[in-house]
């Protein structure tokens, strides 16, 4: 019995942690930069493939590859915002129209990134072995690579939390998400902050991708699934709420690990029913206002 509970908790934490990372990334992008980034999952895929390439071809440890991934994905995100989205912003005066158009642009990006990736890396599943051994707690076998992923997720979340709550840039980001115009009046360079947020969103996606590649095989069309999960978690948690994303991601992870034990194929059904019921009870998400 206690074995089962331990398994459920670990499983829930591991997948929930990854979902949370992904969703926090999307929250950064939507909450501040107002971009419902449909290509978010593609950044996950890119992160995963960079890690895979560095690991299998250059023989670098996946952990090191993950660290290399961070500046790369950040730069892609930052530059994309500084060019495309900045230009769009200058061209679209109304906030509503900007949101719609920004989503369209990210659709275009999704097509392009996925297709380019497919040209480079192909469409077949890829993978590598990393820490594929286990130890036992009681009767429960615990895979070390998954535990490691959990560990990294926790560290990243803590760093991210401190960044947002304790640093000057973090506070500027939060302020911008609540009232961008007033943030501008404080002397915050709002365009830069948005680009940074977009970049951070991309980093979080990249990290998630890296981590996923350590425990799962990857392929170039994997992105969309994660985009969907991120969208749902972000709304479940409450738009723009970073803690909401964290909680939402973990809930999703736990629901998954519990339902998996009852009937794996009901997983998605239960999950969506849960989301819909929750939204009806709390129309602004768990931690939304």
């Amino acid at each position: 019995m206690s074995n089962k509970i331990l398994q459920i908790v670990l499983e829930g934490l591991i997948m929930g942690g990854i979902y949370a990372l992904i969703s926090m990334g999307l929250t950064m992008q939507y909450g501040v930069a107002r971009i419902l980034n449909v290509s978010h999952g593609e950044f996950i895929m890119v992160g995963a493939f960079i890690t895979w390439m560095l690991t299998t071809m250059a023989g670098i440890s996946p952990l090191l590859a993950l660290i290399i991934c961070m500046p790369v994905t950040f730069l892609i995100g930052y530059i994309l915002h500084r060019t495309l989205y900045k230009k769009l912003k200058d061209l679209t005066p109304s906030a509503g129209a900007y949101e719609g158009n920004a989503m369209l642009i990210s659709f275009g990006l999704m097509f392009i990134i996925q297709s380019v990736a497919q040209k480079i890396w192909g469409s077949s599943p890829q993978g590598y072995k990393y820490l594929t051994f286990s130890f036992k707690i009681g009767k429960t076998a615990i895979a070390v690579n998954r535990l490691f992923v959990l560990f990294v997720t926790i560290i990243i979340s803590v760093i991210f939390y401190f960044f947002l709550n304790r640093t000057r840039m973090g506070k500027a980001i939060r302020a911008s998400s609540q009232d961008p115009a007033a943030a501008g009046m404080m002397g915050i360079k709002i365009n830069r902050v948005m680009a940074i947020c977009f970049g951070i969103g991309a980093i979080l996606a990249g990290i998630a991708g890296s981590l996923l590649s350590m425990i799962n095989n990857i392929n170039t069309s994997m992105g969309m699934n994660y985009t969907v999960i991120a969208l749902i978690v972000v709304v479940l948690g409450g738009l723009g709420s970073i803690p909401g994303s964290l909680v939402g991601g973990l809930i999703l992870g736990f629901v998954g690990s519990i339902v998996n034990r009852i009937d794996t194929s009901l997983y998605m059904v239960v999950f969506y029913v849960l989301i819909m019921v929750l939204l009806l009870v709390r129309p602004k998400g768990l931690l939304g206002r």
Binding site: L10, E11, S123, T140, R146, I215, N217
Partner: protein, 415 residues
């Protein structure tokens, strides 16, 4: 880029062809015919792109180039060899696009022959279209027992891949031979998964192998810890997973990590590809793993020759690796079509269909023929394979066997 493909982006040649064809394909022996046009709609992007990239895709490209290198296919009607021309469209893994584009191939491009789309469901959708317009269609990827019920409706439809009908009995024989007493079945919730699991359970139980568990998994599963744990707890001798590479590899990864190593570990499509070794860091990682399919260089001289040519042809494309299940039958299908055209001496699909139904063909698989529109089961060189020392050995009970099965499976290699 392969020669056949570049031609698809070259509309003039297609248009010329259409022009000549417009005057009536069946009525006049059009003397100016310059090539035989084969058209297909393949998923070159989206979730099914991996099929075109690794399964049938490399085969038809290689075949077209090889035929053209020999000057083409001799068609008596025209009194000369006609080169093969390919028109391949991308359906972006979308069914509606796929069916529409087949109609374009037929109605607008007026191709001479059709090449199949990816996967079973897509084949199902295409068969009625081909049939309606009198085209023959030799399916590649996919096949299922549901097909058997409807295949007679579409007399021009043929299938070359072996599937549960021959594979499940072969597997059961192997399990019995190795005194396996119990099995744990996991299957993906789709046509393929339901079919294999549906066929296996009664077959296993009939010979007295207990089925300890039977779990369905969704295609987007991310974590199989609970399933592996359940399989461990069930204590079953054999772990049978009827799913696709994504799920199969996830299960293998987690089984390795959790140290789950049953006597028999079989995964569905995916385990039969050469590239699986790379995914898990080398041949020793998959030692003892079973999967469907089965042919290799030892199966026959012709098979060995094919493997050599295939590797030579694709040596510059790292994305292509050999498929020890499908590549041989896929290529065989193409050769059968080619020979049927030559034998019929015409591009008239109806006559070619007659030839395909009645004749035997000499192909990379040896002498083969269709029986009830399926490749006769005697033709196959193997139904179940097992990785042994980096070679995908055929372990069927009987004369196709290239190596004895290793049961129990050796332990996953330590990190």
């Amino acid at each position: 880029n392969k020669a056949g493909k570049t031609e698809t982006t070259d509309p003039p040649s297609v248009d010329e062809n259409v022009g000549t064809e417009d005057t009536g394909k069946d009525t006049q022996p059009a003397a100016e015919k310059e090539s035989i046009v084969f058209g297909g709609v393949r998923s070159q992007s989206g979730v099914f792109a991996t099929f075109d990239e690794t399964a049938f895709g490399p085969c038809y490209r290689m075949w077209a180039d090889k035929v053209n290198a020999e000057g083409g296919i001799y068609v008596e009607e025209y009194g000369k060899k006609l080169p093969v021309e390919l028109i391949i469209y991308d359906d972006k893994s979308d069914m509606a696009t796929m069916t529409r584009l087949y109609e374009k191939l037929i109605l607008e491009d007026k191709v001479d022959f059709l090449l199949p789309p990816v996967s079973t469901a897509f084949l199902y959708a295409t068969a009625p279209i081909a049939d309606k317009h009198g085209y023959l269609l030799i399916g590649a990827e996919g096949g299922s027992t549901t097909l058997l019920d409807s295949i007679a409706q579409y007399p021009g439809f043929f299938s070359v891949l072996n599937f549960s009908v021959t594979q499940v009995p072969a597997l059961v024989d192997i399990l019995v031979e190795n005194e396996i007493e119990s099995a744990y079945i996991v299957y993906i919730e789709d046509l393929h998964g339901t079919e294999y699991s549906g066929a296996s359970k009664p077959a296993l139980e009939e010979v007295g192998i207990e089925v300890h568990g039977m779990k369905a998994i969704p295609p987007d599963i991310q974590d199989m810890t609970s399933i592996i744990n359940d399989a461990i707890d069930s204590g079953a001798d054999a772990f049978l997973l009827f799913a696709y590479p994504d799920q199969n590899f996830l299960a293998m990864n987690q089984a390795m990590a959790m140290g789950y190593n049953p006597d028999v570990f079989l995964v569905g499509p995916g385990g039969n590809f050469e590239f699986i070794k790379g995914v898990f860091g080398g041949a020793e990682a998959v030692e003892g793993l079973m999967s469907w399919g089965g042919w290799n260089e030892k199966s026959s001289e012709k098979a060995a020759q094919f493997a050599k040519e295939f590797l030579e042809y694709n040596k510059d494309d790292p994305k292509v690796s050999i498929d020890w299940w499908g590549h041989l039958p896929y290529y065989t299908g193409l050769e059968m079509l080619q020979q049927a055209i030559e034998k019929a001496g015409t591009l008239d699909n109806a006559r070619v269909i007659e030839v395909l139904k009645s004749e035997k063909f000499d192909t990379v698989m040896g002498e083969v023929w269709f029986e009830n529109q399926l490749l006769a089961s005697e033709c196959y060189l193997g139904n179940v394979g097992q990785w042994q020392n980096g070679i995908f050995e055929v372990i069927d009970v009987g004369e196709n066997r290239t190596a004895d099965p290793i049961v129990p499976k050796p332990a996953w290699p330590a990190e």
